[in-house]
């Protein structure tokens, strides 16, 4: 008991010291992070929990009983829902106080997004409005623009949409053909072009539109009001899921936009688009966590109720394995997302302390952690897809029926791997960014890779790690070496050509993601033990161990795939031996650990972590 108390004291002292040194994005690969450095969701305060609870109450009273009305696109339902959310302050969470917002922290806005993540169509509507719709003005708007638009967006009086994608410019966003031409009087830009897949398009009052002025190479961004005229749109798209969210094709035909509505500077649009998508990506990861938790709640509840062979199916190992695995992956992606969220927050504070205005600090911090944002987008959305898929399976035949909640959850989840940059684009981006930073000398990646290559020449040491989670932490350190070995060698062998070898890039991206998530879940378990005592964290420890065990297997498989795909024959053997050395399986009983996790949820009849 006393030991636990002294640990806590150390934490507060150490975290004060640590806070002064915000880390760099991507740096996790090169350093050993201490548990005290990471934020874990269990550290959210009473006020933040109350906000999450109120958000849940809003969902339970306004959305859950009305899902059919929402998804059948009952006229006016969705805009009214946004307005109700606005009344509660849910649209104002991240908006600065001087513009009618609440000015809450980055991780608090992540938490609210997480809770809303379980609402399918509304989640997309909310994300489009508060994220990509509002943030360009919040981060890039001048005083007049912010004063005019932000209070109305924060209250829900005006609704926002973001118009980047075009029929021939999806992942290749800068290929957009929409044009802006200054009128003769020099008072207005006339925007002409076609935009696609515009969330909230049907009812938005304000559109952030990307267009190229004259023959510019780069986009510029404009704040366009529906009332400006020259805007028409197609009917609502018929979609696989999130059917209640408005998705339109929008046509701008010499839409007159006052010159003062140019956002930031001419030609700055692509930069705005990319930076805003960084926020969108990590927020999307938060939403996926919330979606996964709702599905697990339902799956556990159904498994407890559904009787077969004279007993609840929750009593079967095959079902326990599913429930546990759903929880483990959700817990892991949550650990990594909030860790990244706090790293962003710390960086913002660090930059502000160094004299940067808040907006610029936020943008710089997000740019710094763009790698983590991309990683969490991929991981979170894939966890959600996995969880909903297994959710359908736990429900059996009922999972396939539109009468039960799983069918909708399954369809709604699928878009998350596509929008905010496809997961493939994000994988390419994150490896590309890492390499770019290494080339620029911002990250000492190649030195570290050389050191690992040197280590391969020496005999392996057999140090047995002892202590709680020590074995797992040692394993994650080795996984980092596996990443450095493969990434370093690929960069060395292929040079610029690596960017063209997308299969290799994706395999390396997967290795990196697994390492980040495994380390995050271990750090969370370790910090929790320090805060609550080992005896109160048995399931969390089990989850961290199983995730690490699985991450090792996956890193091994992706590493093999990469090595066999790019390495010259004479190097393969050495690299594969190295990979084997760095991905030695953990000796644990995954079945017993997963059962422990599942049993705890089954007893409480819900997701409890």
């Amino acid at each position: 008991m006393n030991e636990c108390a002294s640990e806590q004291t150390n934490y507060s002292i150490m975290s004060t010291i640590e806070k002064k040194q915000a880390i760099k994005g991507g740096e996790f690969l090169l350093r050993e992070t201490a548990a005290r450095e990471v934020f874990i969701p269990e550290e959210f305060g009473e006020e933040q929990r109350m906000m999450a609870e109120a958000t849940k109450d809003f969902i339970d009273s306004e959305i859950t009983p009305n899902v059919e009305r929402m998804d059948s696109m009952e006229p006016g339902f969705m805009p009214a829902l946004l307005e109700k959310a606005g009344e509660l302050g849910l649209l104002a969470v991240g908006v600065p106080e001087e513009y009618g917002g609440l000015g809450m922290s980055f991780n608090t806005s992540m938490l609210i997004t997480e809770v809303i993540g379980g609402t399918g169509s509304f989640s997309t509507t909310y994300g489009a409005h508060t994220g990509i719709g509002t943030l360009p003005i919040q981060y890039y708007g001048n005083e007049a623009q912010k004063a005019k638009y932000l209070p109305k967006l924060a209250s829900g009086e005006w609704k926002a949409a973001y118009c980047l994608t075009e029929p021939d410019a999806g992942s290749d966003a800068n290929a957009g053909k929409t044009k802006a031409v200054l009128n003769e009087a020099g008072t207005h830009y006339l925007i002409t072009g076609q935009k696609m897949w515009i969330s909230n398009g049907g009812f938005a009052d304000v559109f952030i539109v990307f267009a190229k002025i004259d023959d510019d190479k780069n986009h510029s961004a404009f704040i366009v009001e529906r009332s400006f005229g020259g805007i028409s749109m197609n009917d609502e798209e018929k979609k696989m899921g999130i059917k209640g969210s408005s998705t339109r094709q929008i046509f701008f035909n010499e839409c007159p936009v006052p010159v003062e509505n140019l956002l930031s500077e001419r030609g700055n649009g692509f930069k705005i688009a990319v930076n805003i998508l960084n926020v969108g990506r990590i927020k999307l990861a938060a939403g996926c966590i919330g979606g996964s938790k709702v599905v697990i709640d339902n799956a556990v509840n159904y498994a407890n109720e559904r009787q077969q062979f004279g007993t609840a199916i929750a009593n079967f190992g095959a079902i326990k394995q599913k429930l546990a695995e759903m929880a483990i992956r959700t817990f892991a992606t949550e650990s990594a997302s909030y860790r990244a969220g706090q790293d962003i927050e710390d960086k913002i504070e660090d930059l502000k302390a160094n004299g940067l205005p808040k907006n610029q600090a936020v943008l710089k911090a997000l740019e710094q952690f763009a790698i983590e944002c991309a990683m969490m987008k991929c991981h979170g959305s894939e966890v959600l897809d996995y969880v909903t898929d297994e959710g359908v399976q736990v429900y059996g035949g009922m999972g396939y029926s539109a009468e039960a909640p799983m069918e909708r959850a399954y369809r709604d989840a699928r878009i998350t791997r596509i929008y905010e940059g496809t997961n493939e684009i994000n994988r390419m981006l994150l490896v590309g960014m890492l390499l770019k930073r290494a080339m620029k000398g911002e990250l000492a990646l190649f030195d570290a890779a050389k050191a690992v290559a040197g280590e391969l020449m020496s005999l392996p040491t057999h140090e047995e790690a002892s202590g709680l989670l020590a074995q797992e932490k040692a394993a994650v350190n080795k996984l980092k070496k596996a990443v450095l070995m493969v990434l370093g060698k690929a960069a060395q062998d292929l040079g610029q050509q690596l960017q063209q070898e997308q299969e290799v890039m994706m395999a390396i991206a997967d290795m990196i993601i697994e390492v980040y998530v495994a380390e995050s879940v271990l750090l969370r378990a370790e910090k929790l033990v320090a805060l609550r005592g080992e005896e109160n964290c048995q399931e969390q420890i089990a989850m961290a161990r199983v995730y690490t065990y699985e991450a090792i297997e996956r890193v091994g498989a992706f590493g093999r795939e990469a090595i066999l795909s790019f390495a010259a024959e004479e190097d393969r053997k050495m690299l594969l031996l190295g990979l084997k050395r760095f991905t030695k399986p953990l000796m644990l009983n995954p079945k017993a650990l997963r059962r422990q996790v599942a049993d705890a949820m089954i007893a409480q009849n819900r997701y409890i972590f």
Binding site: M50, A54, G89, V93, Q604
Partner: protein, 246 residues
């Protein structure tokens, strides 16, 4: 007008109740606590008076240790003006009623709201005893309440097979039933404002607890279902007779 809203800190309605192994107390591990939903009706009605333009100060009160403060802050976030925690464990209904009465005495409240019952012990006895201590009128199971003026109120209350409309003088103790108001979700601004509202901790009056809970028992496990085929009517009658049911 001064309104006192009494709230209990109770396990969430979906909690799977478990007792300590010796049955002496509720096992609180992993249990989420909420404002007793019936008490929340009272809070919501009090806020309603404010919204109707009346000059109202709402004090929310809970008898309990520091662990109940989140419940009080939630009430502040919903719209109460200030909060009071009587720093003692809510041992039994008579003790709680005496503590609240002792606090309310002389503070010139015009109205005290409670829930019709707390969803943990379902005693329904605190408001009646409280009114008795204060020598105030008591209207139970109120489904509607309007103020006529500063001294009189009209209330609707549930009775078997219908409702009763009563008129009462103020001050009055009212226990609230569904219908008197809708629950409210605290808005984000309210949540942020709550931390700035006063929460006073007051010492309990010297009152000896009236009784002590000896043990909690679980309900007996459900019996198994026995099925009879259509041609086994005789066996069914025999079984029912054996159980003394016919």
């Amino acid at each position: 007008m001064k309104i006192l809203v009494c709230v209990s800190h109770v396990p969430d309605t979906t909690t799977k109740i478990q007792f300590e192994s010796d049955g002496s107390a509720l096992n609180k591990t992993g249990v989420t606590f909420v404002i007793n939903p019936y008490d929340e009706f009272g809070l919501s009605r009090a806020i309603g008076f404010k919204e109707e333009g009346k000059s109202v100060n709402i004090t929310v009160l809970c008898v309990g240790g520091p662990e109940v403060e989140p419940t009080l802050r939630k009430a502040l976030a919903i719209g109460a003006d200030d909060a009071v925690r009587i720093n003692t464990q809510a041992n039994d209904p008579a003790y709680v009623a005496a503590q609240i009465a002792s606090y309310a005495e002389g503070k010139e409240f015009d109205l005290i709201f409670t829930g019709k019952e707390s969803i943990d012990y379902n005693g329904s006895t605190v408001p009646g005893m409280l009114a008795e201590h204060l020598l105030w009128p008591f209207v139970s199971f109120a489904t509607k309440m309007d103020l006529q003026d500063e001294e009189r109120a009209v209330l609707h209350r549930e009775v078997d097979g219908g409702e009763e409309v009563v008129e009462t003088s103020l001050p009055v103790v009212v226990s609230c039933q569904k219908g008197i108001a809708e629950w409210r979700i605290p808005n984000m601004r309210g949540i942020m404002a709550a931390r700035k509202k006063p929460l006073a901790v007051v010492s309990p009056a010297e009152i000896t607890p009236y009784f002590q809970t000896v043990r909690y028992n679980y309900p007996p496990p459900k019996g198994e279902c026995v099925y009879f085929e259509p041609d086994q009517a005789g066996k069914l009658i025999e079984t029912l007779a054996q159980k003394g049911l016919i």
